[in-house]
Symmetry: C2
Subunit: 471 residues, 2 copies
C-alpha cells in the first residue's frame, strides 16, 4: 500500500552487481542476499511499502563499515544502516536498492566511565542492553522511545520519548560520535569534555541525520545517576483540555517531572480491552517523579494540587516500585492496545509537537477532526514536551480510507505548524514527511540539501530520505 | 604583537571599493569608514593584533543585513558580525578587510512567551539587558560568560560560563535562529516546539560557527524560572588537588550545584590585592545553589560534608542575598584582578576543558608547569564542567616572553587533549587556536571545511577564522 508519493529511486544496476560481488568475496557468510534477509531489513512494520535492499552485510567493526562504504562509494551504490528496524517513517527502506548494514554484531559497550558519567557504545547496542550493563554502576541512560531500539538508530533519528521532559532528547545526551564519511574514512566529531567550542558542532549535525550523511560507528553518551527514589502516579480528568491544562501548569511551575504522559479516552478504552484492566475511560495522565523520598513526595503533592484545580479525579500516587508498576500498567503496550482496536487495519502514528501553551488547543482541535471524519484514532502524548501521537487506524487497501488519512495528517501538520510547532517531535522525516519538512522550514531545507550534497556528492547514504527529489 | 601565525588575508581591493560605495549610498550616516570606528570594531582587547575592517554598518533590521550580505556576496567582500567585542580569540578581526556589521541597534526583545518559557531577541541584546526585561516575568536567561556580551556573540561562539554546570551552554539553550545565508536570504532553522526531529539540526550548526556560515538576525532562547531561593558559599582548601577532588565528588554525587568555581592561590592573592579583601590566599571554591529554602540548605550541607572530607577549611554559606554577594565578592572582577598583578603586561586567557575525572591532574600539572617556567599566571575554573582558565601574563614586545607563552599554551593544550579534553571549552577557535583544532579533531576538520565551502563558496563570512589556510 503506497500511502505517500514516495518515488522509487533509480537503480544503478551495474554498480550494485559489482558491489554484490565484492562484498560476497570480502564478507562470505556475513553477506546475505536471500529474500528473507532482504525482507527483514526493509521496512515491514511501517504504513509505508517495503523497499528491499539487494544485500545485507553483518558488520563486526568500524573497519568492516569502512570497507562497505568504500566499495559502495566507488560504485555509487546506496548504503542503508539498520539497527533493529523500529523506525516509523521508512528510514530503513532502500528505494534505489543497495546494501543494508546490519549492526546487530556491533553490540559491545566499549567503555564505561562512571566517574565522568559517560559511556561509549557500538551502534548495535539497544537501550535495554545498555541499561542492563550499567546496573552495577548506579547509573542509567534515560532516553526511552518505547521500542527497545538500538542506540545507533536512536542517534540517527534524534529519538526522545517518555522522559525527554526531564532528561532531554538524543541531541542533549550524545557527547561524541565516530562516523564513516563518504571517503570511507572514520572521523570523530568531538572529544569527551563536557562542553566545547572547538569548531562546528558535527555531533549535533549527525544526530538526527537519519543515515544520510555517513554511517555511525560508535556513540559516547551522557549518563544519569539512578534516582534514589522513583514515584509514580495516575489521574483521570473530565476532558482532554483539563488534562492538558494540568500538564501546562506543571511545566510552567517548573516541577521537574520525569514523565508526564497523556492518554485520551479512546486510548484508555483500548488499554482496558487489551490488558483486561478497569481504568476509568477518561483522559488520563500518567506521571513519574525522580528524586529523594522527600522531593518525590513534594512534587507529587504539588501536582495533586494542580490536578485538583483542573477538576481531576483523585490523583493516586506511590513511591513503592510494585504499586507504581501497577498504576503505570496501562501506559505500557499503549501502541499495541491501540492497534488491537482493529487488528485488521493498518496503523499510522503521527508525532507533531507544539509549544506547550498551545497543547490543549492542538489536541482538542485534533480530536474534533477525528470525530468529524469518523476516524478510529487513539491519542498518546509526551505531553510535557507538547508532543503527541495520533494512532490512525485505516484500511490500506481502500483508496478512500487512504485518502482520508492523508488529508487528516496534512490538516494535523498544518495545525501544528500554524501554532509554531513541528511536523515531527521524534520519529524523523524518513520517506513519510518530506513535503511537511518543506512546509515547516522552507528555505532552510535548501541549506540542508547543500550540506547533504557537499558531504555525500554521489548520494550513497540512505538516498530517498528526508529530501523530496528536486527534479 | 603577533603571538600566533595568523596570516594576513588577501584583500579584494576592487570589490571592497565597490561595496564601500554601495553601502555609503544605501546607509548614509549609518555607514562609517573613519579610523576610530574601524579601530573600535577590530579586536582591541585580545592578545592578538587588531585587523581593521574597511567600514562599519549599523544595521537596524534583518532587511539591512540582507542588503549588506547581498552587496558583499556579489563583490566577494568579507562580512564580520560585531556585538560588543568581548570575544577573546580575534573573532571580530578582519584579516582580509571588509565590512563589520554592528548589531548595537538591533537590540530589541521581540517576543516573550512566559507560558512557553522562551523569548526571541535581536542579536544585539546583551544578556544583562535581556534579564532586566525579563524581571517582571519571574524568568531569567541563565548563561553567564562573565562579560556582558550580546546574545548574538554568545550564540556565535557557543558561550557558556559560570552556571553552565547546571543550565548547559548556548547549544542547550537556543531553540531556533534566523540567519542570512550567502544568497542574501533569511532562513529559519527551526520552529518553536521544545523538540523536533525535522531534518538536520541547523540550529546547532550555526551555534558556535563564529560567523563563518551566515549572519544571525534573531535568536529564540529557552528561559528558566528564577529560583525561589539562591544559596552561596565559599571554602578554602589546602591544595588545588583537594579543591578539585571536592568538585569531582560533588558532580559525581549529582548535587545540582548552579555554580562551582575554582580560584587558585595566585588568583586569590590577586583578588585580595585588587579589591582590598582578606580571603585566605589558598585554592578556593565559590558555590551557588538554586532551589527552595529546603533544597538549598540540603545541597549546602551535602557539599560541606564533601569539602570536609577533602580537608577544607570551614565551608561558609548563606541563603541571604546580601551576605551571598559579600561571600562571592572575590569571584567578581577575577579577570581584572589577575591583569592588575602586572598591569604593564599583556594577558592571554586559555580555556581547555577535560573530562571531570582528569580535572585535578590537569590543573596540578599545569601549575607545576607555570612554576617551572616562572610564569605569572592565575587560574580560575568553571570546575564543575572540567573547564579552567589560565590567565598568562607576558610581555608582547619581548620575543622571548612570547615564545615562552606559545610553548606553554601548546603544552597545556596537548595535556588537555591527552586527557580526551578540548582546546576550548567556551572561547572558540577564532584566529588563535586554528592549529589546536586540527590536533584535536583531525579529519573532522575537513568535514567542517567542506560544509563551510558549500554554504559560503566565496568565503565572505568571517574569513580567516576557525580554519587554517589550506594552501
Amino acid at each position: 500500500m503506497a500511502l505517500k508519493d514516495v518515488r522509487a529511486g533509480i537503480r544503478n544496476e551495474e554498480g550494485i552487481a559489482t558491489v554484490l560481488g565484492i562484498l560476497k568475496q570480502s564478507f562470505g557468510e556475513r553477506f546475505q542476499t536471500g529474500q528473507a534477509f532482504r525482507e527483514q531489513h526493509a521496512h515491514t512494520t511501517s504504513y509505508l511499502t517495503s523497499q528491499l535492499p539487494d544485500g545485507v552485510v553483518f558488520v563486526e567493526s568500524a573497519d568492516d563499515v569502512k570497507a562497505v562504504v568504500k566499495a559502495c562509494a566507488e560504485h555509487k551504490v546506496p548504503v542503508v544502516p539498520f539497527g533493529v528496524g523500529t523506525s516509523l517513517e521508512g528510514q530503513v527502506n532502500a528505494p534505489s536498492g543497495g546494501i543494508s548494514i546490519d549492526f546487530s554484531r556491533m553490540n559491545k559497550v566499549l567503555r564505561i566511565s562512571p566517574e565522568d558519567l559517560d559511556v561509549t557504545v557500538e551502534p548495535g547496542v539497544t537501550r535495554e542492553e545498555l541499561n542492563r550493563e550499567l546496573r552495577a554502576t548506579g547509573l542509567f541512560f534515560p532516553i526511552d522511545p518505547g521500542a527497545n531500539a538500538t542506540l545507533g538508530g536512536m542517534t540517527a533519528t534524534r529519538a526522545s520519548g517518555t522522559n525527554a521532559v526531564r532528561y532531554g532528547t538524543m541531541k542533549d545526551n550524545v557527547v561524541s560520535l565516530t562516523v564513516v564519511t563518504a571517503n570511507g574514512e572514520e572521523i570523530r566529531t568531538a572529544r569527551r569534555a563536557k562542553k566545547t567550542s572547538a569548531g562546528y558542532d558535527l555531533t549535533r549535525l549527525f544526530v538526527g541525520s537519519e543515515g544520510t550523511l555517513g554511517v555511525i560507528t560508535s556513540i559516547t553518551l551522557r549518563l544519569q545517576g539512578i534516582p534514589e527514589k522513583i514515584g509514580g502516579g495516575v489521574c483521570a480528568f473530565p476532558t482532554v483540555k483539563a488534562a492538558c491544562d494540568a500538564v501546562i501548569m506543571t511545566i510552567q511551575m517548573g516541577i521537574p517531572v520525569a514523565r508526564i504522559e497523556l492518554l485520551d479516552d479512546v486510548q484508555m478504552r483500548a488499554v482496558n480491552a487489551y490488558s483486561k484492566l478497569s481504568y476509568p475511560e477518561k483522559p488520563t495522565l500518567f506521571l513519574e517523579f525522580h528524586g529523594t523520598e522527600e522531593t518525590v513526595a513534594l512534587q507529587s503533592a504539588q501536582f495533586a494540587e494542580i490536578a485538583a484545580e483542573c477538576g481531576s479525579d483523585e490523583f493516586q500516587w506511590t513511591a513503592n516500585a510494585d504499586e507504581r508498576a501497577k498504576l503505570w500498567q496501562a501506559r505500557h503496550n499503549a501502541y499495541w492496545a491501540g492497534r488491537a482496536l482493529a487488528p485488521e487495519l493498518d496503523g499510522l502514528s503521527t508525532d507533531v509537537c507544539v509549544p506547550i501553551s498551545r497543547l490543549a488547543e492542538c489536541v482538542v482541535e485534533t480530536q474534533a477532526d477525528i470525530v468529524a471524519e469518523g476516524l478510529l484514532a487513539p491519542i498518546v502524548g509526551h505531553a510535557g514536551d507538547g508532543n503527541f501521537h495520533v494512532l490512525v487506524l485505516f484500511d490500506g487497501k481502500d483508496p478512500a480510507s487512504v485518502g482520508k488519512v492523508e488529508a487528516f495528517t496534512a490538516r494535523l501538520t498544518k495545525r501544528a505548524l500554524s501554532m509554531d510547532g513541528t511536523c515531527t517531535g521524534e520519529h524523523g522525516i524518513g520517506q513519510g514527511k518530506m513535503s511537511f519538512l518543506e512546509d515547516e522550514l522552507g528555505g532552510a531545507v535548501d541549506v540542508m540539501r547543500t550540506i547533504k550534497k557537499s558531504l555525500d556528492p554521489d548520494n550513497i547514504f540512505n538516498p530517498g530520505k528526508i529530501f523530496r527529489p528536486t527534479s
